[in-house]
Symmetry: D2
Subunit: 345 residues, 4 copies
Amino acid sequence: MIIVLRKDVKQDQFQEIVDMIQELGYHAHVIQGTERTVIGAVGSGRGKDKLQAMENLPGVENVVPILQPYKLASLEVKPEKTVVPIRDGITVGGDEVVVMAGPCSVESEEQIIETAKAVKAAGATMLRGGAFKPRTSPYSFQGMEEEGLILLRNARDATGLPIVTEILKPSDIELICKYADILQIGARNVQNFPLLKEVGKVDKPVLLKRGMMTTIEEFLMSAEYILSEGNKKVILCERGIRTFETATRNTLDLSSVPLLRQRTHLPVIVDPSHGTGHWRLVAPMANAAIAAGADGLLIEVHPHPDHAVSDGIQSLKPEKFDKMMKTLSRFIDAADRKLAAPPQQ
Amino acid sequence: MIIVLRKDVKQDQFQEIVDMIQELGYHAHVIQGTERTVIGAVGSGRGKDKLQAMENLPGVENVVPILQPYKLASLEVKPEKTVVPIRDGITVGGDEVVVMAGPCSVESEEQIIETAKAVKAAGATMLRGGAFKPRTSPYSFQGMEEEGLILLRNARDATGLPIVTEILKPSDIELICKYADILQIGARNVQNFPLLKEVGKVDKPVLLKRGMMTTIEEFLMSAEYILSEGNKKVILCERGIRTFETATRNTLDLSSVPLLRQRTHLPVIVDPSHGTGHWRLVAPMANAAIAAGADGLLIEVHPHPDHAVSDGIQSLKPEKFDKMMKTLSRFIDAADRKLAAPPQQ
Amino acid sequence: MIIVLRKDVKQDQFQEIVDMIQELGYHAHVIQGTERTVIGAVGSGRGKDKLQAMENLPGVENVVPILQPYKLASLEVKPEKTVVPIRDGITVGGDEVVVMAGPCSVESEEQIIETAKAVKAAGATMLRGGAFKPRTSPYSFQGMEEEGLILLRNARDATGLPIVTEILKPSDIELICKYADILQIGARNVQNFPLLKEVGKVDKPVLLKRGMMTTIEEFLMSAEYILSEGNKKVILCERGIRTFETATRNTLDLSSVPLLRQRTHLPVIVDPSHGTGHWRLVAPMANAAIAAGADGLLIEVHPHPDHAVSDGIQSLKPEKFDKMMKTLSRFIDAADRKLAAPPQQ
Amino acid sequence: MIIVLRKDVKQDQFQEIVDMIQELGYHAHVIQGTERTVIGAVGSGRGKDKLQAMENLPGVENVVPILQPYKLASLEVKPEKTVVPIRDGITVGGDEVVVMAGPCSVESEEQIIETAKAVKAAGATMLRGGAFKPRTSPYSFQGMEEEGLILLRNARDATGLPIVTEILKPSDIELICKYADILQIGARNVQNFPLLKEVGKVDKPVLLKRGMMTTIEEFLMSAEYILSEGNKKVILCERGIRTFETATRNTLDLSSVPLLRQRTHLPVIVDPSHGTGHWRLVAPMANAAIAAGADGLLIEVHPHPDHAVSDGIQSLKPEKFDKMMKTLSRFIDAADRKLAAPPQQ
């Protein structure tokens, strides 16, 4: 921490500040500048929150943190990239790019099986689908719950595709772990800390979506919650942030992909469906995500988007998804990577 | 809903759109404009999500919702203001302004009792304090949990002040209801829908904080989750939104106070401590909140802010809080309201 | 400046960094931390931009500025508040609160004279009105130009109210100075540096509006452009920033009022009309602005808002403005200030 | 326009609203819904601003515009893509991708000639460099002005590369047109309407950068200002918007590339240097921009970024730019496009 003093700091205030730094277990290293005095608090004490609170002391202008607050998620602690194993030899974070595709919500056996087969035929590696849905309105469809999980399992049985599905509350964990191959934490739950701790305790890959107002640093701190409970299988997912622009549902922050690569060993995938909110923008942004260095994609596909119970506007029809995959393959080549093949049955 | 058609819509596309509107149970009212055709979908069907998804259909430019999606929270359903009873005759939302004050976290018996007595002496109506803390970092202090709740109860016993404390997960509800007079849902949980449903099932006032990324409409939809489960005792709390400005911790959106008044019957209070993040800004923004029409305030007070385990920067010392209350009373008068007296013992 | 080094910095990189700091005229003060080495660059050299660019050097993690970049606008250079004289004894920034009111655009002699008389009768101190209008669309009304300025002068002749009007380009300065008492720089021009330099060269008060994406620091730097050209008569105006919230036209950032008071000696007024974009929100936010410590208000008033050529939605009718002023006076009293009387004729 | 009425609208209010719509030259088409009445105002009158102002009328809930306000920039008026000719057969917006590269500021003859030769050797199509610089601080380097323009011309003479340079104020137009091949309007001037009108009157290509707070619609309206004055040679440039995220200087909104393609015929290029603010992020985001469908790139290159007078942090060294161009060529291939060759001499 760097403690910047006010220009008009008095001698006794200065002494109080230095004393408090030392009392918190740090060494106070004073730099006398021409316009300001700053103090470096050197040490590895546990009193960072309290150092920060020194902004309250008379004579202190502000307190500037120097170190990034995440540890286990950082490249400094683990320089080599994490490769998360899913099942049947499929991994996320290695040389291969993965594509997770499927509907926003599981709606019926026919819908999910038809979608699973179609996305597999087009080259998708995994199946996504929601059984528990976080909806802005209490009057909107809230998901098929366990029945939906069973349908997802049936779809996996039918195609071999691993299943990604969302968890909303800690008490559902046992149930969802019975069916899912990857637990998804949605954008609204990125700082639902009890939920993060819970998924940190199980041996299942977690797909953690960035919140719509989450900074990169906060995003990594949320990953740190999972990692620090013991679960190292964390996949990050950029899905757009909320900005003043309303022409898109969110603003897909693709810069986060190379930026996260510079800060963490965890794999990063991109969701251009939520990231843009319009199916016409999904294919170009999928290409862009791969070009930016993403390890995979999360794409909404629905056999009849104009009849979908949720997120129809941003869902691709299977034939459009198939076309997208063909163009995407050119960009995967350009990025010197390969598309992960779906499991053979 | 208004469905706006593309300029180049074809006759068969047009027919498909009209058919689908009718199939969803609405009447299609066509307006032929000079540059565009728009269709009003008239009716009270349950297919709003599906109408919205029609943006996917060929020939559709976009779909514009006309009605606000909240019902129970709206002034149309309940024109008279809601007055939430707390305990011992104290209410929120009536003529009297309430001030809830106390530390961010409960840290010790001495700290919380000392604070409770000090804020009561200065005129506060209730005591706030966190026993379960949502912290960005897993390495930060996470709260004293049940021990903290017991200390809060002791503070209430000592002063008579009702207790406001935060709930983080559905499974804590029984425990916290034993001690708290108001359940606080924090900004990060404003769209934690399982938690909203849970607090909607109990007979306890709920203080719902606006999220840092929550629109007014979404905020009211979150209130609607609680109301639609049966709990009508909801108090809204503006606590600042996240913007590009970093000079303050959040941007306190005081316009939301009169705006919410135009849309909902629920009481609205303001938290200038989180809303600004700097204790020097708390008093002027507390005055401004009352002038804007707020029904109350939530203020962080700590006997030793420079030693607080959390949020020290934005906490007032008791003597500053006392000074703030004296000035505030002038603005409460100007607003033609009264300060709710703390309970007599 | 504090230069934070990477954990893996090498000895020769370290030496290069230290050499460069010294070459730029600063002393390199090294702090060896437990996890990081940081270097304080001490001195008053002119090479700040170049110090910042050292983030590019291998071995450097980032560069953290310590000092605020504005000088003339700061309280450190001038601790006493600036009081800007307008005309006929009216000032901005003293004990008295000023209210500038009038239409967005000057539309006709009848409109502006009628408005001027009405706002004066209600207690306004000055008349606002635009003759040159910055409009998002080239097809919208662009203002009456010089004809509008003449009408404003006529309104001043009729009422004695000083005139505030906007300037859009450097070449208009001579013309506008002939008529205006205060030159307004609009939000879109807050970083139009050639225009700022131009108004910095004349002896006329300048009303500088914060841009919709301008940080407090950038805002003060724009004021610094005017001050550094010699014109010390700068009045700052908070008018809302752009955020994700669309229920209001902008988000009125009232915290900026006490924050600016802590950083600058310049007077600060508030524009709740643009700040909210809805006339129903103007009166409560005007009250709140005064409670937050503003030195004045800028209010849109139009005799027939539903026929206004611009900004009708946010304009008050004269009778509503009159009512607003009556309530406002209570809050001016509570703030221990007085309303500046309009000039006597 | 759609006028949505309040639930409690009265008969005489309703009549007044209908009368006013007709008085403004529109036909009032009434839709009686189950919960609300809405009125479609049909016609091609000039009174759109006034229709919008009807939100002020008693009985009106809100007014929803249906048509996009830009005309000349829209695909409806001109469905085929615009190809802007620059000089010597180079164009922007055709099949070929252009790369404009060079320093933020022209600093010396040696610097600009060295950079021009280096970027040409690496494959750049044009040279960028600022002679008039909009700087946040009045104390920062403001550009070499005409001397800088002369140096840019010398660099063009030496390499054949066309010149892109920024214009800050209307009165500089004649001077800059003597030297520049493309006039750049910077982000801060995107709504400097007098400047837009001025560059709309000359026969020179204009590179219009999106502002950090500009919506897509406003961006196209600013292009409309130029087009409506007669200059059809407009190139749009996405350069990042301002959001809450501070880890990057701006948030590069790449979704704007395919979105603009759906709305306008004008070419769109991307500036990943300003868009990210960190040279390490430039190459991946350049790849992503091409994958998203951009017609070109604007890249900051400086021979000695750690000594640059401005924007050093985001500038690439020539050797890094060369490496970037090699990888970029793979993505240009994948996008089925070609890199525009620099002019032969």
